[in-house]
Symmetry: C2
Subunit: 401 residues, 2 copies
């Protein structure tokens, strides 16, 4: 028996997972997360215009991105994307059946699916799986619940933060699946976060949007936005803190805890990025605005040439300068400074003499830090990415439908 | 003695090339293209905000992108990018010395450089190379001239079109270097085009801008815009046609010839893209505008997941739909149609049953055609790209500065 606990650590939650046959492996492929009460719920979903049926369902039941929910049902192995009206009916059926077992309406159940695009869900298996997973809620086997949302992730990714807020111990916990592929589909990211904090849905959503900005929305493995990206947070209120009000000091503490969990989950997705051997942080400062800093940082983070150079351990600042320059953010080479591992390698329009051995030693490590000061203003943003390796190609080219 | 002719085929041009020691190989690394008279000249240069000194020189002598020129000097092996004020002085010195040998002012000489970023040119070698190349202009060894602008291109890329215009035979010829890497620098694309047509500089520029739109500006190997991209066309007028006026039928014929040469050169760059094994055409129609069609087509052409699927010969329409959906172009999955090799594989929001063997046979070939009808308007654009292979990673990761 496993003793790993994360998403059921906050009071008020239980989880169950089973293998019902959607995945071809024997790994769990259906997870239910349940809350004892109507939890405050907030979600972030993909900005892709092609969206999966589960995302459509979430937008249907939570049109403003927040509300009340009793639970979440997630399957892996089939993303239920591009499946038309019947796919949406399948997502609704998942919510409806789960709701019946949890004692609530379908509209109180969030749905998320990950896996191959363009295939209908095997609903007989899904129905049996939901019944079986619900029957296991009492066990709260968090490890199985996490495996149930994974595809070809190579490691289990979770994060927990505990903090004292308003006289109570508040726990924020999360699990995430990342960018592995079991099928020729998009790298669909799904994160589930639980907390026992007492907080209203709208305040929870505000905190999630803020936390997402510098975590989930700051990472890139390969620039391909998924059709299914979903982050959901449920707050049970079981901690017994005074309900958190936006703008208060206690709300600020909760925001910090939620942001920390989101950052850790997002970071772990990049570390487990397809073919990744290194985590790369690109911190841009001195931009004309935060928005331009994000554009500039993402341009470097998405540059295949830069990512190949990092893979090869080469301090190729020319590729960094070029990636900044091709972006829509304002860049002036004469004001630009570039550092790798804290060592200035480019300034005043040209490369500087630098300690090559020191920079190469930094690049040989597992975590690479690139800092770019655009010298134009106060805007800043930090993007996280990984290197680009042959393994990425192998994972994504050597699969046949 | 070689008999290959291209850029000196149009009347009025001569070319000379030598190895002067900028490249570590024994291949030619300095090329001079000269015109007997002041030619009409037009250039397109990179949109990257970090630009090489030769591009700054071109913008200095041709602030509107066109004017008169007597020749072009190109070196390979060092791009003279991010080299500060001294780099610009080096570019000017190349123009000045070449101009002296051609009997014109420095301002009549275009300059282009390709190769590693951030290194000063070895000017002693460059000066000797210019003198030696100028001495060989009489030989008009076009093959050597082409080799002199190449870096690690795996094949020689040129195009020639001849057509009757205004009672004269007009020739348009071009050479191009593409996306090979001899050094950890950007894939710098340089194309030189010659014609004996009589045409004013402004009209020539207009034709080049139009030709570039659906050729050079429609291709992508890896989404990384170079700091040195330069396309230059020189028109000697030696054909003896009545000078071409914008809007006339004869101008239209010239436009067609120039567009054809540009398209062939751009296409050949993609075929020789780093690690490329297939040429991929992504034709988007039915967009709300041509601009949105271009955004949508480029989003697919730059998607690493799509490019890996093509490399693996997998008809992964989910990745195409997702790449369209993540773009800034308006996309409605229910109106979207996707074809591969002429076979409809996605329509009305979901995948269609299709002849898998037929599509896989198409994908196994050297040229892959993807067509996306957004079903929203009349905008269209065709992008050209290549697949993404392990070889791309090898070329760009396994190099050390």
């Amino acid at each position: 028996m496993t003793t790993i606990r994360h998403i059921t650590l906050p009071g008020g939650f239980s989880a169950g997972a089973v293998h019902c046959g959607i995945k071809s492996t024997s790994q769990e492929d259906l997870t239910i997360l349940a809350c004892d009460v109507d939890a405050s719920a907030a979600v972030l979903t993909t900005t892709n215009q092609v969206v999966g049926a589960p995302v459509l369902w979430l937008r249907c039941i939570l049109p403003r991105g927040y509300g009340k929910a009793r639970g979440v049902v997630v399957n892996s192995g089939c993303s239920n994307v591009c499946t038309g009206a019947r796919g949406l009916a399948d997502a609704e059926a998942m919510a409806s059946l789960t709701g019946r077992l949890l004692g609530c309406q379908a509209e109180k159940v969030l749905v998320a699916s990950t896996g191959i695009i363009g295939h209908r869900l095997p609903m007989d298996k899904v129905r049996a799986g939901i019944a079986a997973a619900a029957a296991r809620l009492g066990q709260s086997d968090d490890a199985a619940a996490l495996r149930g949302i994974m595809t070809t992730d190579t490691r289990e990714k979770s994060a927990v933060v505990q903090t004292r807020i308003g006289g109570a111990t508040v726990t924020v916990a999360g699990i995430v699946k990342g960018s592995g592929m079991i099928a020729p589909s998009m790298a669909t990211m799904i994160a589930l976060i639980t907390t026992d904090a007492a907080i209203a849905p709208a305040d929870l959503h505000k905190a999630l949007v803020r936390a997402g900005r510098r975590s989930f929305n700051a990472v890139t493995v390969d620039s391909d936005t998924s059709t299914s990206d979903t982050v959901a947070v449920l707050a049970s209120g079981a901690a017994g803190n005074k309900p958190l009000k936006g703008g208060s000091a206690d709300y600020g503490k909760f925001q910090s805890a939620l942001s920390e969990v989101c950052y850790e989950l997002a970071r772990s997705v990049v570390v487990d990025g397809e073919g990744a051997t290194k985590l790369v942080e690109i911190a841009v400062c001195g931009a004309r605005s935060d928005a331009e800093a994000k554009i500039a940082a993402k341009s470097v983070a998405d540059s295949p040439l830069f990512k190949c150079a990092i893979h090869g351990g080469d301090p190729n600042w020319g590729r960094i300068a070029a990636a900044l320059g091709k972006s829509a953010a304002k860049v002036d080479p004469d004001k630009l400074k570039i550092k790798i591992g804290g060592v200035t390698i480019f300034a005043r329009g040209t490369g500087r003499k630098f300690d090559l051995a020191k920079v190469e030693a930094h690049l040989a490590g597992k975590e690479v830090k690139v800092a770019c000061d655009l010298g134009l203003g106060k805007g800043g943003f930090t993007a996280l990415t990984c290197d680009l390796s042959r393994e990425y190609i192998t994972i994504n080219a050597d699969y046949h439908t």
